[in-house]
């Protein structure tokens, strides 16, 4: 019945188009499938256990807002000096007697934070260092259209700046404002826990320079690490837990004003 309804040259045309479309589709589907296969082998728990699982503790009670961490980070990681690009910064919270909350972070706290509210008006004041939270369920990794941002086997969220297309979708997806568009590389940029340093057994630059040990870096899998000890001894909290990002930066002494 086909020959009655469809003439021969038309049949040929349909065949050729089907082959062309099918071929293109097959090729485009191969690559993502390959990636998925890779992820499967990564999910093998034994394989992952070989790696440390990096995290950070932040002790708000110890932070004095000197800004050395934010400064060291910029120097260590070649972050542009302009005050619009930060891998880490310190926020100064001041709750006034009338209940008003003032938050400040001039130049990310670099150069030290000074109190602008008169003493008699202050109910309480504290410093909150911020950085990428290296979420287990990272919204930025979920959003990246090309897979240029990913979670390393050690749980560090990284960006491949030679692959990033610069769409900024990850920046929109990050609830913590931890990402920025690097004007030099024109790729998304963020805290890497100083991946180049920790891979060599060193501490991240911000941890290294902190004069009060307000930042504690370590392996969450190592039960003897300082970080695990910090988590055991203090009631810690993560930022924006309602978003279910399961972040790996833990705060001690987090006040409800902090977002």
């Amino acid at each position: 019945m086909g020959t009655n309804r469809i003439s021969n040259n038309r049949r040929k045309f349909f065949k050729a188009s089907a082959a062309l479309i099918g071929g293109t589709f097959a090729i485009s589907i191969m690559k993502p499938l390959g990636l998925m296969a890779q992820t499967d082998s990564d999910d093998n728990t034994n394989e992952k256990d070989k790696f440390p699982l990096w995290g950070m503790g932040v002790d708000i009670e110890k932070c004095v807002g000197c800004g050395k961490c934010a400064e060291a980070c910029k120097i260590e990681n070649d972050v542009p000096k302009e005050p619009f690009y930060f891998r880490t910064w310190i926020e100064q919270y001041t709750v006034k007697n009338d209940g008003e909350v003032k938050i400040e972070s001039p130049n990310g706290g670099i150069g030290g934070l000074n109190q602008s509210v008169p003493d008699e008006d202050i109910f309480k004041s504290f410093m909150v260092p911020k950085l990428c939270n290296h979420c287990t369920n990272a919204p930025c990794v979920q959003a990246c259209p090309v897979g240029a941002t990913y979670i390393s086997p050690e749980g560090v969220v990284l960006v491949d700046d030679s692959y990033c297309i610069g769409c900024s979708y990850c920046i929109q997806a990050c609830p913590y404002g931890a990402r920025f568009m690097n004007p030099v590389t024109k790729a998304a940029d963020k805290c890497t826990f100083c991946y180049h340093r920790i891979s060599e057994g060193l501490q991240p630059a911000c941890v290294e320079v902190c004069p009060t040990d307000a930042r504690i870096f370590g392996d969450l899998r190592d039960k003897k690490s300082d970080l695990v000890k910090f988590l055991q001894e203090n009631p810690t909290e993560i930022l924006k837990p309602h978003l279910n990002t399961k972040s790996r930066v833990f705060y001690n002494g987090l006040s409800s004003e902090v977002r």
Binding site: R5, I6, S7, N9, R10, F13, I21, S28, K31, P32, L35, M36, E82, P83, F84, Y85, F86, W89, E91, V101, K102, I103, E104, S105, N107, G108, K130, P139, V141, Q142, A143, C144, P145, V146, G147, A148, Y163, C164, I165, G166, C167, S168, Y169, I171, Q172, A173, C174, P175, Y176, G177, A178, R179, F180, M181, P183, K186, A187, L243, R259
Partner: protein, 398 residues
């Protein structure tokens, strides 16, 4: 780069309250406003065309071909603002080569391609194939060459082949309707799925985008039909125009209801983000949202089109108002996109302050470029109408 820094220093001096230090720069500007706007025009125009084809609203016949070509002209341009806003536009092909399966943006690339290649181009081709064959015999030069090539060697012009074209075209339109829904619903999902941003993150976002897309697409085709008729110096089919206006009214009612529902829900639930969002709406967005989008783009068109259902003034008056209302609706939907895209970035995710946005004239993200992307589709449409005028088609069933 220095210019960009200067721009940012200026924005820094205008920060209101506290924002995270990385939030001073708005990463999505005018180009990303245009992207859902243009995609919406495509989806809306296509759905209007489908009404005639699939639901047999015969009175819309004069706009069928026009709506399809309008959709094509805008679809071709739809990705341009997207690609031009990328920091690394030359890497954009990676979205197709190594798409991240969990990314809404990556999947959009495929939805777009599917819609362009499998739906719109095929539907237009099946609709025009017989005419291409006939035109290739009567025309000369470039047109003849184009018609010959585009028939892809299928030169049957008999009744049977025309019927087959029609049947396949119908089949594609049936697939096309959910595809058009998918195309624009997906654009809404790109925003609606960002849980970090309370202004975007609503389950209604895809469906609001869809209905606002239909509103804008129908208004655009209505305007283009009027303008093309004037240029061709032919009478406007008032029955057709009245029907389009009635559909515009219905869709506008649904769209307005959905958007109101979204806002009422926000106000009633008054979650953590409510305070900052109410300041956003009454402050930074008061002109673009309350005046441009709601009053100009929605309420006035609703009143005028609603009134016309009960009281019909003379054709001349109706034409004037349809033209005016069409334009107002298009402006209103543009600002709806603006309020979503720009509005969503004006307040900090710390929910404690605002940054500011200033449009620039020059550069890839400037308003001159935006105007280019909006006017270019009209030139493409003019070219398409010259190349394959729907009014010169020889319809076999008429």
């Amino acid at each position: 780069m220095e210019e960009h820094f200067q721009h940012l220093y200026q924005a820094l001096s205008q920060v209101d309250g506290y924002i995270y230090p990385n939030e001073i720069d708005l990463h999505w500007g005018l180009m990303i406003v245009l992207y859902p706007y243009i995609t919406g025009l495509v989806a809306g125009a296509f759905i209007l065309a489908s009404l005639e084809r699939v639901f047999h609203v015969k009175v819309l016949k004069p706009t069928y071909g026009l709506a399809l070509l309008t959709a094509l002209a805008f679809l071709v341009v739809a990705t341009m603002p997207l690609v031009s806003h990328l920091q690394h536009p030359l890497r954009s092909y990676e979205i197709f080569m190594t798409p991240n399966p969990t990314s809404a943006m990556a999947i959009f690339g495929f939805v777009y391609l599917w819609y362009l290649m499998a739906v719109l181009l095929l539907e237009i081709w099946f609709d025009y194939r017989r005419d291409f064959v006939i035109w290739s015999k009567t025309s000369k030069g470039f047109k003849k060459l184009f018609y010959q090539l585009i028939t892809l060697g299928i030169n049957d012009t008999d009744e049977k082949s025309a019927k087959l074209d029609d049947r396949l075209g119908y089949f594609i339109t049936v697939i096309g309707i959910p595809s058009a829904f998918l195309l624009h619903g997906y654009v809404g999902f790109i925003f609606g799925s960002i849980k970090a941003n309370p202004w975007w993150s609503t389950v209604l976002m895809p469906i609001i985008f869809l209905f606002s897309a239909m509103v804008s697409g129908v208004a655009l085709v209505m305007l283009i039909y009027m303008v093309v008729s004037w240029i061709r110096k032919v009478d406007i089919d008032m029955k057709c125009l009245d029907t389009i206006a009635r559909y515009l009214l219905f869709i506008l009612i649904i769209d307005f209801t959905l958007e109101s529902l979204d806002q009422i829900h926000r106000i009633y639930e008054a979650e953590e983000s409510f305070d900052i969002i109410s300041v956003l709406v009454s402050g930074k967005l008061n002109i673009t949202l309350l005046v441009m989008q709601v009053a100009l783009g929605t309420i006035i068109p609703l009143i005028v089109l609603g009134l016309f259902q009960f009281y019909k003034p003379s054709e001349k008056v109706r034409k004037f108002f349809y033209f005016l209302i069409g334009g107002m609706v298009l402006v209103g939907i543009f600002f709806m996109r603006w309020n979503v895209v720009i509005g969503g970035q004006l307040f900090s995710k710390s929910l404690s302050g605002f940054t500011s946005f200033k449009t620039v004239y020059s550069g890839m993200e400037g308003s001159v470029m935006a105007a280019v992307w909006l006017i270019l589709p009209l030139f493409i449409l003019a070219f398409l109408l010259w190349l394959m005028p729907p009014w010169k088609k020889i319809s076999y069933n008429e």
